[in-house]
Symmetry: C2
Amino acid sequence: MSRDIRRLSVRKRNGEELSEDELRWIVEAYTAGEIDDAPMAAWLMAVCCAGMTDAETWVLTDAMARSGELLDLSGLSRPTVDKHSTGGVGDKVTLVAAPIAAACGACVAKMSGRGLGHTGGTIDKLEAIPGLQTAIEPQRFMRQAEEIGLVVAAQSDRLAPADGKIYALRDATGTVDSRPLIASSIMSKKIAAGAAAIILDVTVGSGAFMEHQDEARALAELMVGIGERAGRRTVALLTDMNEPLGRAVGNAIEVEEAVAVLGGGGPADTREVATAVAAWMLVMSGVERSIAGARETVDAAIDGGGALESLRSMVEAQGGDVGALDRPLLGHRPTARGEFEVRRSGVITRLDARKVGYAALASGAGRRRKGDSVDPAAGLRLLRKEGDEVASGDVIAEVGASSDRHLDDAVRELREAVTIGDEQPPSRQLVLGVVGAEEIG
Amino acid sequence: MSRDIRRLSVRKRNGEELSEDELRWIVEAYTAGEIDDAPMAAWLMAVCCAGMTDAETWVLTDAMARSGELLDLSGLSRPTVDKHSTGGVGDKVTLVAAPIAAACGACVAKMSGRGLGHTGGTIDKLEAIPGLQTAIEPQRFMRQAEEIGLVVAAQSDRLAPADGKIYALRDATGTVDSRPLIASSIMSKKIAAGAAAIILDVTVGSGAFMEHQDEARALAELMVGIGERAGRRTVALLTDMNEPLGRAVGNAIEVEEAVAVLGGGGPADTREVATAVAAWMLVMSGVERSIAGARETVDAAIDGGGALESLRSMVEAQGGDVGALDRPLLGHRPTARGEFEVRRSGVITRLDARKVGYAALASGAGRRRKGDSVDPAAGLRLLRKEGDEVASGDVIAEVGASSDRHLDDAVRELREAVTIGDEQPPSRQLVLGVVGAEEIG
């Protein structure tokens, strides 16, 4: 094996498969600071250009997972299940699906991330709940998981530290967009986080990382293969992200929508995707045998109030103000408020998820750079969505923003996001396909 | 245009052509420290993978040339000509061809480099002449060029500083091997160095950067195109570098061989390549009209002593001990001396240039890393070469080394370099072709 990163970069770009020892050495040496950023960046670009075999991708993922602690959830009495989304706009699926799954007997002990750019992150949304803590020590994490079956903590630096370091370098060097690098980044964290089953929500469309369904499917297949190889029951749902999910985009406002869905209301699209994910969480964790049965159990958990109660228990256990869940915007008040009116009559033919994400970012709800703070009160409420008829002057969105300037910027971005035409746009499926778990009906 | 290096890396790896403004910005911003090493390394790897159009390569080269001073040699009374080799083993062509060209009426005012790895550098060789200075201030450089028509100085940091910084990064990141990056590196320095004509010696074979003639020809065509576009009369000779050139490999020992060739003796192969290069220097600078005429002039300069006298004048002008040119090894004495004997009888079928270069490096004559010092006295004298018959026990090389350990290492490397068989190897042409200057016979 070679221990010269330059030589390994040359071999990779010439299309050679690197050995297991070589790949493990790269991950270990880079994490330990023995390989500098510049040669590592060149190697990552060589991977972007020449790709990796599935065998290489597996080794890379496993090495990254083993670069730090491996959480052991096997001592918990309930079957464990994790869930991950490749990111979207208005994506509050975790906030709905995880409490449902916990209410139905699974244990969801998971780490989540923060938002970046046009996509939101579950941790930012949870932190909009006054008092709620997301930095949770391992012992407390395990105790909460055992006691209420639901804990959502901020991604720990101790899990897959190689991924943290490599991801930061990819972000800085234009080497993000590579299927094996994306798959290894996501799956190394999921494997290290210890759940026995993994549900992947692979979003597709303008607001997602993958614009095309074939790319998303290929990524899903790669990740499911890695999960299975790691001994985790893994399935991926391909879901549409051309239009924002639901009507709320922001932090407090998305929690508000999640609470509504858990209470049996809320937008139909949010409920459809979140309950599909929840049903798969129940099946893959072994709580339910079939998707049909799981769907009934999920509906019953919503109707019976157990799902919402599960979220309340988690909020309480993590120090949050449970009463805030009943208040509009969790009790937050945006500094500036405004409305977005359309300037012509017709039908909304396009409500571009990415551009709505930029509008939410402009309002103050998101972060442009890692480390920026987010405004929990900022965000958008979409009163109309694709297919809705509008008349010139109709308000189709309410905007809460961090300042008047943020408000103006958000409204300007929203204008880019909306297209009004004369004919109904074709309707879209929300769940586009399922990858993995072929034996389950 | 984009001023986000990450975005430019992504576009490059997707096979897009970058704009002139974008490429100039990359060179300027990296040289100014506004682009970090890691994203620049990723961009360089994207270029290695996806290539560049000729138009892009020209802009890159021109931007690198303009990153520092542009020498103006137009005030000199003689026609100026520069010469560059892509590197070899035993390559003392500059030491022979430049004095010949100067003796025949051209002005050779050039910058040269130091050796690295298995290849030597003209500056290291010249510095083996006691007292000789290669760090020459611009004013003195111009005066010497005007007065004796010959000056060889160490590459100035003020010329094409972008190339210096980019080359160091390429060396550290496995992004050396890219035709547009090689061409722009070489030609940016040649353009900045100001000569009106440029002769490129593009070596081919095991001891060269390019192993195959088609690669070397493609590089030569690219560089000739760049030179012509910069308004310089440019030609490239493709020369064989499978076997070391001549019989001397080292520093003082190569100067000794150059002096022998300038005096009308020395190995035939060194004379053949060096006089071919010198003849092209005369033609491209306009001193001669035809290669045939130039060859006669070159031979006369050797036979009449003018060529050697030109070298002596340069050595004197640069503070060197002219008398040393008449002493074996310029008066140096290697710390350790040894001989290399063959262990079987037959014919030398292979004397691998790269491996002989490694032997010279091991002897102390070369540097493994930039900044290492070289031993002027160390090196090899090849008593037999490919095609020569040998009997077991024959000494085929003498080795001078920096220590007994260096000597052992050099002899061990030499054993790898030599293959003895039973049949004569096919004979090789030394000058394999000429690229450019098609109008000249």
